[in-house]
Amino acid sequence: MFGYAVKRLLSTIPVLWIALTFCFFVLRLAPGGPFDLERPLPPVVRANLEAHYGLDRSLVEQYFSYMGNVLIGDLGPSFTNDDFTVAELLAIGLPYTFTIGGAAFLLAILIGVLTGTFSALHRNSGVDYTIAAVIMTGLIVPNFLVAPILQLIFGVQLAWLPVGGWGNGSIAFLILPVVVLALPHAARISRLMRGSMIETLGADFIRTAKAKGIGGTLTVRRHAIKPALLPVLSYLGPAAGYLLTGSLVVENIFGLPGIGTYFINAALNRDYGMVLGTVIFYMVLIIVLNLIVDVAYAWLDPRVRAR
């Protein structure tokens, strides 16, 4: 298992390198540079700025210089944030994004698995349909609509929760953003779980368990849940990626200092270093998550291990 994981990781390094090279050059194709502002810069100042950041060298020279720096962990300066380097900004923002994303991830799994299992056990009943309706709403209504509505209700009108910001980091500030972020994923996990659970409950080994006289709840818990989770697991890998990076909207609306904003704003500002920094982060994340999913598959389903 360990050897397999290491081999997988090593094989992804060329992939990373190719993707980074591609991004580096494609980024320069976009018209406009980091110093094209609303207020025009006198040419000599612009020349000085470009020299300061090494943008006046040939593109190939810049590429090798950048790659060399990445290998020693230096992701370069940020053009939009003069007082911090890319690495510092990512380091500062990651804990917030991980906290919100991680909490949303766990909440989505919890709600999704529980409601999905419940719906499967009581399939086609009134409760099942009600849950389905509520779940579908969470799936269909986009998060940039849900967020302001919840802010209005819980923050402004009822004043139960703060409207935004990170504040002192207490749970009160996390509740709304985590709920908004988790909802669509909880909905999908719920539907996946329901379908998968129904299928699993019809399998032979469940009939064997019932024949042996094992009660309903024990059957579900010990024998049905793990295999039923497999499709959910396939979804969780990319979902974790989306949660950590797609938090852009949530971070923007709630004013949370995560790294989500860098993904969009860095590109709009032509902050080359920051864009590449976020690309590296995202790629590494996806690779690691996919690897974890593969390993978890083997653990959950003995039939996979046996292969």
Binding site: L37, P40, L41, P42, V44, D82, I171, E251, G255, P257
Partner: protein
């Protein structure tokens, strides 16, 4: 336990969690803290590296120059207690007060010399260096023509005296010293820490507040600088500047009491705010112009009749009140009114009715060779933004009424300005906020010898000559007359299409006093107070 019981336990736990979290959220309030919604995140705390108004709010609270700003943003003594000007208007002598940096080191005249030299040093690449070009040799040093920084027209004959020599008499120079490009820097810290001097744990300031925390993308927190000479009179103990670009979300946080001041608001909620938060949403004239640039290098726009027709057909009076909803005033001059006593030169057809203007516009187009069988076609460029789009769509419809076909073209801000810089446009949107309160700051946008500001490449040697002559004129009234003549020429030539004068938009809680509206939209925290 079965799943249902499990869910019930979960729900109970969640309810308990929320209840306890709410108790934590309602914490104790001791110091008077001002919560300001600041829009963007500053790119730096270094006065030489910033250029936005959201950055000015922070930098202007933590540093103070020779001249400071009072409650109405008018110049008052700052680090300098008094000053005198030589008879020829070229030499300014400032006497410094006994002031300290936040680490206890005295503020010396050499700190100003050091800062100005660093500002002009091309290696610093300060994008606003040109604001202090009135100083002798500043432009040459900044452009690399002179390499000896000591040639800059600023000296410190002793620790308490700063002497600045100008290139030529400049009436707005003193007001220009309130700008952050003129702030002193703690030379001892820059020499010790290099580029890291500006990090929150190292930075040393001389203003009423000092920064103690900066979480990028979230907020900047400043507290009272107890070494400030007037610290005893400060009523606010702590200021938190929040980054939040979503204005709707910011308004909700304001309503929940999390923000005391908003420095921008969603214009489509202005009416709602006037009804539900009376007196709190403030609009006030600001020294700025929203205009359309027109390309003088590209036929048929080099024909003054075409330019005038396009300008006349714009129904400016509806743009502020109806298109934007916040009541901006129509602009018929290039320089906004209220600039230190200057009387703008207005377009001579401004008082005609819109129908008369449209009729005349059609006539002019016909004279220029356009008509129903040969309509004028043009491309209108703007940078992607809801308001720019609304205005462009409205104006395209107004132009349709005189038979002009408009193609709307929007790009993101960087691309928009990149192409304007290269003179790629027919007609394009641009805006300008005054750097200092003097009409020449707007007129320079049309100067032939400043192509980087003059996107339309309007080039009238008569106009340029008048501006150059005004630069040498010491008598204020005569100088204004020359500038007025230049503006009149530009208006007669329809050098550009002025659309409206900017207004500042703020939302201020009734708990705050000292927030006075002014054309610079500057409200330094030292004059504010907050009741509970």
């Amino acid at each position: 336990m079965n799943a249902v019981a499990g869910l019930k336990r979960l729900a109970a736990a969640a309810a308990f969690g929320i209840a306890s979290a709410m108790l934590v959220a309602a914490g104790p309030v001791s110091a008077t803290t001002l919560h300001i919604h600041n829009g963007g995140d500053p790119s730096s705390l270094d006065p030489h590296k910033v250029s936005g108004d959201w950055e000015n709010r922070i930098v202007g609270d933590i540093f103070e120059g020779l001249v400071a700003e009072d409650i109405n943003a008018e110049p008052i003594p700052g680090m300098a207690t008094e000053w005198s000007v030589s008879d020829d208007g070229l030499v300014y002598t400032f006497k410094l007060r006994d002031a300290m940096w936040s680490d206890g080191t005295p503020v010396k005249a050499s700190d100003f010399v050091f800062a100005f030299r660093r500002l002009m040093d091309p290696a610093t690449a300060a994008d606003y260096a040109y604001l202090q070009y009135p100083v002798k040799n500043a432009e040459k040093i900044n452009k690399g023509e002179i390499t000896d920084l000591a040639m800059l027209g600023i000296e410190a004959p002793d620790d308490k005296t700063v002497v600045i020599t100008l290139e030529r008499p400049t009436p707005y120079f003193l007001g220009g010293l309130t700008h952050y490009t003129a702030y002193p820097l703690p030379q001892h810290v820059l020499e010790a820490k290099g580029d890291d001097w500006v990090k929150v744990e190292n930075i040393v300031v001389n203003g009423p507040y000092k920064p103690v925390e900066w979480v990028p993308n979230s907020h900047v927190r400043t507290v009272i600088n107890d070494k400030y000479y007037d610290a005893a009179n400060l009523k606010i103990d702590e200021v938190v500047f929040y980054k939040l670009e979503d204005e709707s979300a910011a308004l909700k946080r304001y309503r929940a009491g999390e923000f005391d001041i908003m420095t921008e608001f969603p214009t489509d909620q202005y009416e709602w705010m006037q009804q539900n938060l009376p007196g709190q949403a403030r609009v006030a004239p600001q020294a700025g112009l929203y205009y359309y640039v027109i390309n003088h290098n590209k036929p048929p726009f080099d024909d003054v009749r075409v330019r005038q027709a396009l300008s006349m057909a714009i129904y400016r009076e509806v743009i502020g009140p109806q298109v934007l909803g916040t009541g901006e005033l129509p602009a018929y001059s290039w320089v906004p009114p209220g600039m230190a006593g200057y009387e703008p030169a207005y377009l001579d057809w401004k008082d005609l009715s819109q129908d008369e203007k449209n009729a005349k516009a059609k006539e002019l187009l016909a004279e220029a060779g356009f008509g129903p069988d040969k309509p004028l076609k043009l491309q209108l460029r703007y940078n992607t933004n809801e308001n720019h789009k609304r205005i462009a769509v409205a104006i395209a419809a107004m132009w349709k009424a005189i038979g002009v076909e408009t193609e709307l073209y929007n790009t993101e801000t960087k691309v928009h300005y990149d192409e304007l810089k290269d003179n790629i446009l027919d007609v394009a949107r641009a805006g300008w906020l005054a750097d200092y309160i003097d009409p020449v700051n707007f007129l320079e946008l049309l100067k032939g010898s400043l192509p980087e500001f003059n996107y339309g490449r309007y080039n009238n040697p008569e106009f340029d000559a008048l501006l150059d002559k005004a630069a040498l004129e010491k008598d204020q009234a005569k100088r204004y007359a020359l500038l007025h003549e230049a503006e009149a020429i530009a208006m007669r030539d329809n050098a550009g299409l002025p659309i409206y004068y900017y207004i500042s938009r703020n939302v201020v809680s009734p708990k705050i006093s000292g927030f006075n509206d002014n054309i610079k939209d500057i409200h330094r925290t030292r004059w504010l107070s907050k009741s509970e």
